[in-house]
Amino acid sequence: MHIPSPRGKLSACVAEVLRQQQVGPIDASFAESDEDAALSLWILHELSYSGFADVDDGLEWDIGLVTLRLELEAALEAQLRDRFPGPPEPSDDLVAAFFGYVETHDGPSLAGHVHTDGTDEQVLELLRWRSVYHLKETDPSAFVLARLPRPARAALAELLYDEYGAGRPERLHSHLFAEAMRSVGLDPERGYVDDVPLEVLELNNAVTMFGLHRRLRGAAMGHLAAFECTSSVPSRRLVRGLQRLGFPPPVIDYYEEHVLADAVHEQVAVRDIVSPLVTEDPRQLEDVFFGAFTCLDQEARVARVLLDRWGVAA
């Protein structure tokens, strides 16, 4: 992948540093807009995933870039915590409380629109926007694995094994999405970060930040569990919409896989990851719900932007 096009002074400076064209100090105050800051953080986070063509891998731990990353993450975390209304009333049944919390925070449904009324162009736009996450699907959670107490770690390993194809490279979920993209003429190698708005960048930055900081492991697992809990039913509706529109099998297969896989993963994530994590360390409770809220809130923000673009009432 190549470095995305800058959206202001800060992201332009970050790109120049990565290309070794500039060595002077840069800081978060260079940001010209929220979008400029979010894209800069997205670019810095990418250094911890697959990196960029022609960029030195060692820059992931460059002290100046790490300092900038921490500044941008602190601002993002403060904003996300500001949006979080706090955890629900205490309950002696965390599993039921978590499922109930997710069900009562249901946002506008992109899948519902695709199911009945979506067009080919709208689905293609959805795939481009989703590709920013799905091409590294599950990778943020994998960063957390070594940082969990024993029962939660065993359960996350089980979930990740399934996400990563259960020993079959051709079944990796991120690979299934890349195949789905190719089947409709999109190029997963190119990437579509240039096409996505602030809300999509912010959603990806939050999940990466949760994954990279051990301190935020509770938020990371709450985010994962909320994501899994809101996947099966929408994936089924997407499958029906994709069939109605005549999309090719790799696209339909990707979402069919998620109907079944995520019906399992939501149970594992809530019962066997989140619940024992909080039992082991009750201080994680608030961050588990912080992560869950952030997932649901950011998905709702993206859905509202997209439905608005399509002229559909949310």
């Binding site: 002696d92 965390l94 259960a166 039913v233 109907v259 079944l260 399992v264 149970q267 809530v270 019962r271």
Partner: protein, 73 residues
Amino acid sequence: MGGGGVTERAAADVVLCPGGPMLVRGARHVVDADGTRHPVDRPVVAVCRCELSATLPWCDATHKRLPDERRPR
């Protein structure tokens, strides 16, 4: 804490999820009521208990659309 989520997992090859599916770990085939054998290709599968799944015998989370009293116990 309730919900059965805090026990050690060693013995839990089959888990009845309150309100949801039956999780089965390490199965190779599931035979449904008609005698049809369904091969299992993932480490854990969720077998539908509400009988409303569109992908029987597998759970597709349709139970969430049921009121609490109609969900599997």
